[in-house]
């Protein structure tokens, strides 16, 4: 029996061969048809007349138009969706994140970061494209609400209580991330914010000093925290609630467990529109976190970086990597699990410790893009069906026009001219269908939300639920390169479907064609 890997390899090769053959045939067919049209231009008006004088050809034109319009609209909606998703998932992520691999401390052997934040700051401040940096101390903890009964929920909904403790320097953070807007009010029409979230959302008292000691009456806590709005909803937290945080310290070993805890008052909530962040993040100050963990050796676990332009991310990554590595602030091989004798390129090496925001969401972005490709492929089947209709119509036309083929032969028409006439018919049907479909797609894409409103008015049901997709309206974004590819493939399918009937016509015996009744 063949191993799975072998089967996968065979199917992959088969896929490439078939895909390559189809693309090759399509490209060859289109080029040959265009050559015929130019070389035998004299019969082009006859092809056009054949295409325009039969009502049934309209069926093929409409079929192609619907197919093209469907593919373009679906792709445009998926483009818009991906674009909006990129904005949404970008929510909490900085242009670059530097995550140096920790190392064992020289003196006591405890793990710590390779240097202090100030050492990194000295280097990063003068690095090209870097506009601002901020430290973050990221740790993991369990968060217990005050309601004891809720503790029983831990067994059932454990993941709701596991939070990411993010220690920040508020002043530095504001310069790099959109922290100010995360703790600002949720706007009525803000994309990504559900009605329920808007209702439970409570702002911090003082946005200028968001983590200042919270002056809730009766508060006995020494620290404040900001929680994600979805987390607040999930475990029923309110502004002023006192919660307990339990974690483990970095010094915990197999022999000695150290599980410090801390009580904090909730100073307010934040909303980044990124579901994952808003449901598992708790913001505290770095000193508060260091104190909780009794951690003195390290004052950060990652550094977030704002660039002058995200387009420079790759260049900045290499420059930052070179400088930090030269200063001994990046490990030699990052987190690589590859054997040490396997060489890594410079970019690969830095990619392991310096991430762009897209690197961190690569799987999700790839999944959505893959989904767009699959959807486009499925909808393109409509165009293929239209091509089959065109094939059937042209085959009927060749039979019907047998005597005309004989007439063309008496006028000196060769097989090439007769082929050209029917290819011209196919080209006329495909191009007019594609043009009509493109126009239709542009109109539909521009009015998707009006169409949705009308469907809701007519049927009482909406196609698009904003709360499900965290978007306020159906997004749509036309990518003209994509449109050109769709039109090219449509033209290819149309030409391939007309080549066989046209070839059959060109092979007809002139004298017998002339006698055809």
């Amino acid at each position: 029996m063949l191993a799975d890997a072998t089967v996968t390899l065979i199917f992959t090769i088969l896929g490439y061969v078939l895909g390559g053959a189809f693309l090759g045939l399509t490209a060859g067919g289109v080029l040959y048809s265009l050559y015929l049209t130019v070389r035998m231009a004299g019969v082009f008006p006859l092809g056009l007349r054949y295409a325009s004088s039969r009502i049934i050809n309209l069926v093929a034109v409409v079929g192609v138009a619907i197919g093209v319009a469907a593919v373009i609209v679906v792709m445009s909606v998926m483009n818009g969706f991906i674009s909006e998703q990129r904005k949404l998932i970008r929510g909490s992520l900085a242009d670059l994140s530097i995550l140096p691999a920790p190392r064992n401390h020289d003196t006591d052997g405890r793990p710590s970061m390779p240097g202090s934040f100030d050492e990194y700051k000295k280097i990063l401040d003068g690095t090209p494209h870097v506009v601002a940096i901020a430290p973050r101390f990221v740790w993991v903890a369990l968060l217990f609400p005050p309601d004891t009964l809720n503790k029983f929920n831990l067994a059932r909904r454990g993941s709701d209580f596991i939070v990411q403790l993010i220690g920040i320097d508020p002043e530095a953070e504001k310069k790099v991330s959109n922290f100010n807007s995360w703790i600002g009010p949720i706007k009525e029409n803000e994309a990504g914010a559900s009605t329920e979230e808007r209702l439970i959302y409570q702002m911090v008292n003082d946005p200028a000093d968001p983590l200042a000691k919270f002056s809730h009456p009766g508060s006995i806590s020494k620290e404040s925290m900001i929680v994600g709005v979805v987390l607040a909803r999930n475990i029923k937290l309110k502004k002023g609630t006192r919660v307990e945080i339990v974690t483990f310290s970095p010094q915990s070993t197999r022999e000695k467990h150290d599980t410090p805890n801390m009580f904090c008052d909730i100073a307010g909530m934040l909303h980044t529109q990124e579901q994952e962040f808003d449901s598992h993040s708790v913001i505290v100050t770095i000193p508060a976190l260091q104190k909780l963990l009794s951690e003195e050796a390290s004052d950060f676990t990652e550094i977030i970086v704002k660039l002058d332009d995200y387009k420079n991310a790759d260049a900045a990554r290499i420059e930052i990597g070179r400088r930090l590595k030269a200063a001994g602030l990046l490990s030699a091989r990052g987190y690589s699990v590859l054997p040490t004798d396997v060489p890594l390129t410079e970019t690969d090496l830095y990619r392991r410790e310096i991430h762009t925001w897209e690197d961190q969401k690569a799987t999700f972005l790839r999944a959505v893009e893959n989904e767009r490709g699959i959807l486009g492929f499925i909808v393109f089947v409509v165009v293929v069906v239209a091509a089959f209709i065109q094939f059937a119509i042209l085959s009927m036309m060749v039979t019907e026009k047998t005597r005309d083929i004989g007439i063309l032969s008496t006028l000196g028409g060769s097989g090439g001219e007769i082929l050209a006439v029917f290819v011209d018919v196919g080209l006329a049907i495909t191009t007019s269908g594609a043009a009509l479909g493109l126009g239709l797609a542009l109109v539909v894409s521009a009015n998707l939300n009006k169409i949705d409103d009308f469907i809701e008015f007519a049927t009482g049901n909406r196609i698009f639920d904003p709360d499900v997709y965290f978007l306020k309206s159906i997004p749509s974004e036309i990518d003209w390169i994509q449109v050109l590819c769709i039109l090219g493939l449509t033209l290819g399918a149309g030409v391939l479907s007309s080549l066989f009937p046209a070839w059959r016509a060109s092979r007809l015996h002139p004298a017998r064609a002339l006698r055809y009744e």
């Binding site: 008006p45 008496t410 006028l411 000196g412 060769s414 002339l514």
Partner: protein, 243 residues
């Protein structure tokens, strides 16, 4: 000077399943430059088949066809098409016009076959003028934009004649051109056809069942049992038998 068209021992048979049905059984025929010849014979004797072989629409099963001394009967299909386009015009009993095109476009089509884009753009206006001129010549200046469905039998045949002479062919092959017309219209069509033949000095081969019409040609060829049985030459109404 070589003959306009000559056949030597042309045999032709059709295949019906396993059967070979012989139609032409050794036809030897010569058509000289500028002469008018009628081809007569009973139905099914092979007149139309011979016409199609002479018009290079079909290669003979065996034998040769010479056009101005060149053996053209067995060339490739595209080579025969090229020769046909430049040298031969056809007129049929049932007109054989393309019903989607107007009278003008039907005539114009004869000039546009085989034209690449450059010629199509360069010569377009001149060809259109020539097609108009030809339609005027056959008396259809008022019918140029009419489609075949809107024309009478006589008018259709005039369009077909205009189309046949578009490229000033040296050889005109007519298959019962008046067979589908009343006597008066037929007579006017023949006047037109012979008039044009005399203007162009083309060689005219006319397949017909009508003895009167056959006698209007300078020579009559009779086909009997797939062979040329006799040829009669007419000069000022006198006939002399030539076997």
């Amino acid at each position: 000077m070589p003959a306009m068209l000559e056949t030597r021992d042309v045999y032709h048979s059709y295949t019906l399943g396993a059967l070979q049905v012989p139609v032409l059984k050794g036809v030897n025929l010569t058509l000289n430059e500028g002469e008018t010849v009628s081809l007569v014979g009973k139905s099914g004797v092979g007149k139309t088949t011979l016409l199609q072989i002479l018009g290079l629409l079909e290669p003979p099963t065996s034998g040769s066809v010479f056009l101005r001394g060149a053996d053209v009967g067995r060339g490739s299909r595209s080579a025969r098409s090229e020769i046909r386009r430049k040298n031969i015009g056809f007129v049929f009993q049932f007109y054989h016009l393309i019903r989607e095109l107007t009278a003008l476009e039907n005539v114009l089509l004869a000039g546009r076959i085989g034209e690449p884009l450059g010629d199509f753009l360069r010569k377009g206006a001149a060809e259109r003028d020539r097609a108009r001129e030809l339609l005027k010549r056959v008396g259809l200046e008022h019918r140029m934009k009419h489609r075949p469905g809107e024309l009478s039998g006589g008018e259709l045949q005039r369009v077909a004649i205009a189309r046949a002479i578009f490229s000033q062919p040296a050889l005109l092959l007519c298959d019962e051109p008046t067979g589908n017309l009343d006597a008066e219209t037929g007579a006017s069509i023949l006047e037109l056809l012979f008039g044009i033949q005399s203007e162009l000095r083309s060689t005219l081969l006319l397949v017909t069942h009508d003895p009167e019409l056959a006698r209007r040609c300078s020579r009559m060829v009779r086909l009997v049992d797939g062979r040329v049985a006799c040829a009669e030459e007419y000069r000022n109404g006198a006939a002399a038998a030539r076997v």
